[in-house]
Amino acid sequence: MAAEPVIPDFGEASDCVSENRLFCPDWVRDNWDPVLQPALVEHIKLTAIAVGVGFVLSLGAALLAHRLRYVERPVAIVSAVIYTIPSLALFQLLVPVTGLTVTTVEVALIGYTLLILFRNFLAGLRSTPPEVLEAARGMGLTQNQTLWRVELPLALPAIVAGLRVAVVSTIALATVAAFVVSEGLGGPILGALRLDFRTEIIAAGALAVGLAIVADGLLVLAQRAVTPWASARRVT
């Protein structure tokens, strides 16, 4: 250390970081609190809101379509059309309306969950075997009792299956939100891509992948807990 640095120092970059080696654990350690952890929390929030709202909308639409057959087609068409729009194009379409806000991102993310969730929920509601429905009617269950006590519980595996796909795909897709707002793991990834900073790309990317795996695992556990009958040992 011969002379004072001329350029102000923005933190002590290690050799690993300044040489932009493949992965620098020290950078991750130093930037967990200021960068990665907040981004991860935001990412979870983005996903939770999108899937949560998508769940409510899809379940409502599926229940309606289950009771009134003619509702199915329009909902299926609209959700399929939304699904086919590329995400960046959808952001472009929404920004003039909702601006560069989280709302824009959420509307898009919610839109993408609808097709998967609606289809799975409706298929689940329709999966009750006809003889089970006949027995329910014959024993004097009303239409609502049949729905709550029989059809919805039997739809749970399909409902959770739909949620798993929706959660994993939303976690992946939410990284693109960084093009609109600096929220979620897409922020660090996009920033690092511009600087070609490999450690940050890998760290933030790995967090997104890890989040998807953990969320999926939790849903599998949740499904086992709520549908003990589905995993009961079969005897014939």
């Binding site: 003889e131 009617r137 014959g138 024993m139 004097g140 519980p153 039997l154």
Partner: protein, 319 residues
């Protein structure tokens, strides 16, 4: 414990069901009375409307005209869900709720009726006993964990749960293998002797109807009642060619299967030789034993010594 409910009489009064766009009715002007506590078998070829006729009673199918009265009250006078909760319903595919345990399945109607937990649990165990499934072993199993025959036993227990005075059974044993079917038919007879429900039992199998039914209604295509009678009368005096063909050319033999040796006044054997049979043997099996052994009589070892049934006596009985 709730007091067991009295069985009820069912009256079909010109009951008719027409489906729009069909030339012939599914059930055509059906009038018959099923006395309380009896099993009435509805038989006939497919398209005879037997299942439709049964479903008119719990209004899974609505009458077009005419009436059906259960214990004097028209089924149309009651709220349909109330009506159904008071009628046991058993179908061929059972339709157990796959997400509920055996006990929860049986508790379905008691829960709808708001029975207490204790009373429901007690009733569930009692019913599992009745259908010969030890409650301890079966209560917590799911439908996927029991065999087809066991499922139908649970189906029967579920239908009996709230002690309905009336039971509707739609080919309940039709999907079971012959051995299981015979066993369940006998169990049903045992349970029926104990409970004395009024039962409408749909089957396409005339032998099953003869075994299970106190009375048999034969429906022909177009839902027309061809004959309604006791099995004995039906076999001895079929109303027409259709009934005669339906009950089969072997109706003489079938009549023999209605009577068991110990139900007859038999003559003392007096040293006659022939196959030695149990008093519980049907006359049909007794005849078969004679033919097998080339004998002209069978011998029964009863409480008052050896008695015999001769071939001559057998032919006399059929007259």
């Amino acid at each position: 414990m709730r007091a067991p409910r009295q069985a009820v009489e069912i009256v079909f009064d010109h009951a008719t069901k027409r489906y729009p766009g069909r030339a012939t009715p599914a059930v055509d002007d059906l009038s018959m009375t099923i006395p309380a506590g009896e099993v009435c078998c509805l038989v006939g070829p497919s398209g005879g409307g037997k299942t439709t006729a049964m479903k008119l009673v719990n209004r899974l199918v609505e009458l077009t005209s005419g009436d059906i009265r259960v214990d004097g009250t028209s089924v149309t006078a009651l709220d349909e869900t109330e009506l159904r909760r008071g009628i046991g319903y058993v179908i061929q595919q059972v339709g157990l709720f796959p997400h509920m345990t055996v006990a929860e399945n049986i508790a379905t109607v008691p829960r709808l009726l708001g029975w207490s937990k204790r009373e429901t649990a007690q009733r569930t165990d009692e019913l599992l006993d009745l259908v010969d499934l030890p409650a301890r072993d079966y209560r917590s199993r799911y439908a996927s964990q029991i065999s087809g025959g066991e499922r139908q036993r649970v189906g029967l227990a579920r239908a009996l749960a709230a002690d309905p005075p009336l039971m509707l059974m739609d080919e309940p044993f039709g999907a079971l293998d012959p051995i299981t079917r015979t066993r369940l038919q006998n169990e049903l007879l045992r349970i029926q002797r104990e409970l004395r429900k009024t039962v409408i039992f749909v089957t396409h199998d005339i032998d099953e109807a003869i075994l299970v039914g106190d009375r048999i209604a034969i429906l022909r295509e177009g839902g027309v009642l061809a004959q309604y009678d006791t099995p004995e009368q039906l076999l001895a005096h079929p109303a027409d060619d259709f009934v005669a063909r339906f009950v089969g050319a072997d109706r003489g033999l079938k009549r023999l299967s209605l009577t068991r040796l110990d139900e007859l006044e038999l003559e003392p054997a007096n040293g006659a030789v022939g196959p030695l049979l149990d008093g519980h043997t049907t006359l049909r099996d007794a005849l078969s034993a004679m033919l097998n052994d080339g004998a002209r009589a069978v011998v029964v070892d009863g409480p008052d010594g050896k008695r015999m049934l001769t071939l001559d006596r057998l032919t006399e009985l059929l007259r």
